[in-house]
């Protein structure tokens, strides 16, 4: 058990990788074996992620460093850490829990979503590769390793977006997303090269300890900021997001949202832990805040006029990224003076990450079920699904109301913290945030009315398979549970994560370089 707890950081990444490479082989033994194998891998990954979280929280939030291929981070006689390391602190384990939840539910949903088509083994392989890439992104402590996992997620994501090769639009979306992701990844590599050339090391803790505010550092930060903000989907670089989320299969869209949030995680890690107050926090913070405000407004207003249900939810997802950027941007902008509302804003933003994944995941999975039942994706042609699919109606309504910030669901709890803390920096930000929530409620009311209410249009809708309903029910229970007991989850999950950003730079560096 002790050996397991020591090696669990790498097991979390290695298990889905094993699943990715073994899936096509195991699939030769038949469909049941393939499904059982994917379920096993997904379950094991979720258990390892939970074990990692338990290990970290029982150690009091001190970052866990796992050295690949060695025992000690800094062997004697060396001034620079030379091995690749995984460094797990409160925020990393929070993102790992999100990735585990999303991965397990996507695999569960795909069991019946992909029933009648061939190519299930390759789909499983790509899905596990994407999940492994997301885990690698959030657990790594080395800049070049981060670039490698960034590219792994890009390739797996684009493979999955274009998976339905018989559809015209899927290939178009996949090409565009691949080109954009590759360009962003290359610019991130340029920034990593700049940092390496200046300081001679690639380890994040080492760079954080030695960073000064020179001109090359600023260029590197600009490249990282633009590249990672594009990957997260901030306006005005968001236009790939509706295409990607709209054309991917429904469970993949949920994992892609987690992927974008991992990009956001990387941005926060670089800003707070790597750079800290080395550069002007006000300027960088306000860049984030302006992008976030634009994202919220453009996201919700564009969602209002979409006819395709999945594209509509995709624009909603884009706008929610704006909320997280806004909250953590406010927290970063005041990092120099450290008022109390900065920490509250960061807590709100991070709590919104898991709330958003649960709500948007629920909505995407429900949209997948709706499209299957109605046979069309166009909201103008759908109608009256509530006559036959009552459970799906309730689940969609829960997800929609929670995302729009209606009490007592979890979206309201995190958005309340965001409203009240951003108000302290500037009232305009809180006004924009509330306006975004109201318009988002209008968006989902329209979608609900168009798809579920009214007379039937397509005859009797078939039943939703039980695996799909189960995965949606798990997400709905998270939505309701986090909504009814926000204090408990904030204390246990969000506060260590927010603390890791606000106060945790010294602990992060000290865990690798030894004693502050």
């Amino acid at each position: 058990m002790n050996a397991l707890a020591t090696h669990v950081p790498i097991l979390v990444i290695a298990t889905p990788l094993l699943g990715a490479f073994a899936a096509p082989l195991i699939a030769k033994l038949g469909r049941t074996t393939r499904v059982a194998f994917s379920g096993l891998i997904a379950g094991l990954t979720a258990c390892f992620a939970g074990l990692l979280a338990a290990t970290l929280y029982s150690a009091g939030g001190q970052p866990i460093v796992y050295v690949l291929g060695g025992r000690v981070p800094l062997p004697s006689g060396l001034a620079v850490p030379v091995r690749i390391m995984l460094e797990v602190d409160g925020l990393s384990v929070f993102m790992a829990l999100i990735a585990a939840l999303v991965g397990a539910l996507a695999v569960l949903y795909s069991v019946s979503y992909w029933k009648e088509r061939s190519g299930g083994a390759l789909y499983d392989s790509l899905l596990f590769l994407l999940i492994a890439g997301v885990f690698g992104l959030v657990l790594t402590g080395d800049m070049f390793n981060f670039f490698v996992f960034l590219e792994i997620t890009s390739i797996a994501a684009c493979g999955l977006i274009g998976f339905r090769a018989w559809r015209k639009r899927s290939s178009e979306a996949a090409f565009k997303v691949m080109a954009l992701y590759t360009l962003a990844g290359l610019l991130v590599l340029l920034a990593v090269g700049l940092l390496y050339g200046q300081y001679g090391g690639l380890n994040m803790a080492f760079l954080a300890a030695n960073l000064s505010g020179s001109m090359l550092d600023r260029i590197a930060l600009a490249l990282l900021l633009a590249g990672l903000a594009m990957k997260a989907g901030a306006v005005p670089m968001h236009m790939w997001a509706p295409e990607a989320y709209g054309e991917a299969p429904a469970p993949v869209a949920m994992v892609l949202v987690a992927n974008s949030q991992a990009g956001l995680y990387a941005l926060f890690r670089i800003l707070f832990t790597l750079y800290g107050v080395a550069l002007s926090v006000t300027a960088i913070g306000w860049i984030l805040i302006v992008m976030a405000v634009l994202t919220i407004l453009v996201g919700v207003t564009m969602a209002l006029v979409q006819s395709d249900i999945k594209r509509l939810i995709a624009f909603g997802a884009v706008s929610q990224i704006g909320y997280m950027l806004l909250a953590v941007g406010v927290g970063f902008a005041v990092l120099a003076t450290r008022p109390a509302f900065g920490l509250a804003a960061i807590q709100g933003g991070i709590f919104h990450m898991i709330n958003d994944v649960a709500c948007i995941g629920l909505l995407f999975l429900a949209a997948g079920a709706m499209v299957r039942a109605a046979g069309t994706r166009n909201l103008n042609a759908m109608g009256g699904l509530a006559h036959d699919l009552k459970g799906l109606t309730v689940l969609f309504a829960v997800g929609a109301f929670a995302l729009a910030g209606v009490p007592p669901f979890n979206g309201f709890a995190s958005k309340l913290i965001i409203y009240e803390s951003t108000f302290r920096l500037s009232p305009v930000l809180a006004i924009v945030a509330v306006l975004g929530s109201i318009i988002l409620l209008a968006v989902f009311l329209r979608a609900f009315q168009a798809a579920f209410l009214g007379p039937r249009t397509v005859g009797e809708a078939g039943r939703v398979p039980w695996t799909m309903t189960l995965s949606m029910a798990v997400l709905a229970s998270i939505v309701i549970g986090f909504g009814l007991f926000p204090g408990f989850f904030i204390d246990k999950l969000v506060a260590p994560a927010a603390n890791a950003l606000w106060n945790g730079q010294a602990a992060y560096i000290g865990a690798v370089l030894g004693g502050g």
Partner: protein
């Protein structure tokens, strides 16, 4: 029990849910105080449209795009410009990306 304090206010979802449920119970109680001889079908339950027949549900139902036509029509200028920006052409997406990169480079290069 179960509440969070955001530093500037408090939010207790359990208390809110109990209040919500209590309000529904009170509203149900007020409804029960009403007359019990009202029938919902037949002549008493029909919609009054000045003596005209009620159209069928298919003709009455307002579908997807038409539900908010007033709001979308009012914002027509905004939507014309913003929808035109979402061209779907890859070169434009890359142009936006490089543009934002340039702006961020300039800001970070100039600010002390």
């Amino acid at each position: 029990m179960g509440g969070i304090s955001t530093g500037f206010g408090a939010w207790n979802p359990i208390a809110w849910s109990l209040l919500f449920a209590g309000t529904i119970v009170i509203a149900w109680g007020i409804r029960l105080l009403g007359r019990s001889d009202r029938k919902l079908d037949g002549e008493q339950g029909k919609v009054f449209l000045s003596g005209n027949d009620e159209p069928s549900a298919e003709k009455l139902h307002v579908r997807g795009d038409h539900l908010y036509w007033g709001m979308v029509d009012g914002l027509a200028g905004y939507y014309r410009r913003v929808r035109a920006v979402h061209t779907g052409v890859l070169s434009d997406y890359i142009a936006w990306f490089v543009g934002v990169l340039g702006v961020v480079l300039v800001i970070l290069g100039l600010v002390r």
